[in-house]
């Protein structure tokens, strides 16, 4: 197996009006696996993304109680979110003789090096574990494959992240880089627009941030739990005093780049019922790729995108907002999470009300256990903690994080209101 195709664009559920997903409840998540976490890769091949993706995949197999012989498909998001290792630093003996396995892990790399001899279907999905998960839902739901691994290794190399050198710029960045406009300014600007429209301010984010860290303190797979537990004791004063990255976004609104790998095992509902863990059925998958009118995403566009995501999640699953028990929208930059909360209207939250909601009881023990995973903010940058936690919550295996409200349905997604992919999950296939 030499290469892998991108998952076909027309198989993502990206439009409103598609009705209930034709494969609703036919696929289920039956295994979870995560490698250890570390802040940066130190060049030790035993903690490379390749090695850790194989470890995560094996853990997902063990969680489901099956062997690798049963795997007939692999879907990977093949590039991590960090910078490349780079040939100038020198590669290693095979299978670490290229970027594949170091700064990202392709599906065929995993198949070859894990010895997955019965795999007939592989795909790549761009940008996010969430994209690979929705592709996996469709692959199994449609019957193209029966039991698959969905994986991503995402790493963090030595040095500063994504620096942009040079005095000239072409391509799409010719319109943005001269002014320093990139994703972070977009989100900071969007948050400022939100606060101006609804009369809020950055200080009102503190209860949400602290709760994300608190949830991270109960997530043994997470980076902070494993490596920096003191950072989970963040106080309001700490949060408000942290340095500005792009005002009104401060350092603690940003997730911490880490090195880790995750794996989800998806199989048919029928087969899942025979495996070790309680099946978590996939009731719908959704993609959002919003198009902005001009150089920036306006607040009106952000709200339009989030509403569309919610409409698609509800339409394809048949659920209503009131029927969503566990809600894990993305928080990699915390300053856009309120848009998801309001777009979905979870627990009745309307536009402009998210920061009031953050000040209510959003603890996992409480009646509004928002973002029970703790997200990237509480666990380090992966973009999959929300999916991981949702499965654990629906299994009743979230440990100290287990919500005390009913946990029969869940929605999780990443990444932004403009560009994201979502799963609707349930303990029942119906």
């Amino acid at each position: 197996m030499a290469s892998t195709e991108w998952f076909q664009a027309d198989r993502y559920r990206a439009k409103e009006g598609l009705g209930v997903w034709e494969h609703k409840g036919k696929a289920a998540i039956a295994g979870l696996g995560n490698s250890p976490t570390t802040r940066r890769w130190d060049g030790d091949l035993s903690t490379s993304l390749g090695a850790w993706t194989m470890l995560a995949a094996q853990r997902a197999l063990d969680d489901a109680g099956i062997t690798k012989d049963e795997i007939d498909g692999v879907i990977s998001c093949p590039q991590g979110m960090g910078d490349e290792w780079g040939a100038e630093r020198g590669y290693f003996p095979a299978p670490y003789d290229s970027e594949d396995g170091l700064s990202g892990v392709s599906a065929h790399w995993l198949v070859k090096n894990m010895g997955l001899e019965n795999v007939k279907t592989t795909y790549h999905a761009p940008g996010c574990m969430s994209t690979a998960l929705v592709a996996g839902a469709e692959v199994v739901g449609s019957g193209e494959a029966k039991t698959i691994l969905v994986v991503r290794g995402t790493g963090n190399m030595p040095g500063r992240y994504h620096q942009t050198p040079g005095d000239t710029v072409g391509g799409p960045q010719q319109w943005t880089n001269p002014w320093g406009w990139q994703l972070i300014p977009q989100i900071a600007f969007g948050f400022d627009q939100y606060c101006r429209k609804y009369g809020s301010n950055h200080d009102r984010m503190a209860p949400f941030i602290l709760n994300q860290r608190r949830n991270g303190s109960m997530f043994p797979e997470g980076f902070y739990y494993q490596n920096r537990p003191d950072d989970l004791n963040l106080t309001v004063d700490d949060y408000l005093a942290s340095r500005w990255i792009c005002k009104p976004m401060n350092m603690n609104d940003c997730d911490l780049p880490i090195q880790t790998a995750g794996a989800f095992l998806i199989t048919t509902g029928e087969r899942a019922r025979q495996m070790k863990k309680k099946p978590v059925y996939i009731l719908n998958h959704v993609q959002q790729r919003g198009v902005v009118r001009s150089s920036v995403e306006t607040l009106a566009e952000t709200e339009e995108f989030s509403t569309s995501i919610a409409n698609k999640c509800f339409e394809g699953s048949g659920l209503t907002a009131a029927e969503v028990d566990v809600f894990n929208p993305y928080d990699g930059f915390t300053l856009f999470t309120q848009s998801f909360l309001e777009g979905f209207g979870w627990h009745g939250v309307k536009h402009g009300e998210a920061h009031d909601f953050y000040g209510d009881d959003i603890r996992v023990e409480g009646s509004h256990p928002f973002s029970s995973s703790g997200g990237n903010n509480g666990n380090g940058r992966t973009r999959w903690w929300g999916f991981y936690d949702s499965v654990q919550q629906l299994r009743g295996e979230a440990g100290d994080r287990q919500v005390q409200v009913k946990a029969e349905t869940a929605i999780a997604g990443a990444f932004t209101p403009q560009v994201s992919d979502w799963l609707v999950l349930g303990t029942s296939p119906d």
Binding site: H162, Q163, T164, P165, G166, D167, T168, V169, G170, G171, P172, Q174, W175, T176, N177, P178, W179, G180, W181, Q182, I184, P185, A188, F189, D192, Q193, R196, R243, W244, I245, C246, K247, P248, M249, V291, R293, S294, S295, V296, T298
Partner: protein, 137 residues
């Protein structure tokens, strides 16, 4: 503030050439009159590839802003913190451009909603000028 120099391509050349001539233009569809910025090979509204340029009056207002303290853009890092404002064009409010608002204090009181006027600033890496904006009250 010295900026990276845009490198024009076939689609963007008309915009950047106009900047060098002291004119602000926005790409316009010759079939349906749709305005779009940044420019694209085709009209986003009707799909036509027959695209031209419409000159703007050079006035706008501050739609919003943020203040960058830790940019990835190395060319700008020595000037931190700096304002990145979003400018809404008077002739076409749906079109947005960026500005560092030279002359405006970098604090929490950037005058959102105030009027701005375009000027054309030299850049760091070439002779290419870019559209910049100053508050006029």
């Amino acid at each position: 503030m010295p900026k990276m120099s845009p490198v024009p391509d076939d689609v963007s050349k008309g915009f950047w050439d106009a900047c060098n001539e002291g004119r602000l233009v926005v790409q316009s569809c010759n079939s349906c009159s749709w305005l779009q910025h940044p420019p694209r090979p085709e009209c986003y509204s009707c799909g036509s590839a027959d695209m031209g340029w419409r000159e703007m009056n050079g006035r706008g207002k501050i739609h919003g802003y943020c203040v960058m303290h830790d940019s990835r853009i190395r060319a700008l890092q020595e000037h931190q913190p700096f304002i990145i404002a979003v400018i809404e064009l008077e002739d076409a409010p749906e079109i947005k451009m960026f500005s560092h608002l030279p002359g405006t204090p970098v604090d929490d009181n950037v005058p959102v909603g105030d009027a701005v006027a375009v000027w054309f600033e030299e850049t760091k890496g070439s002779d290419q000028k870019v559209a910049e904006w100053k508050v006029i009250g």
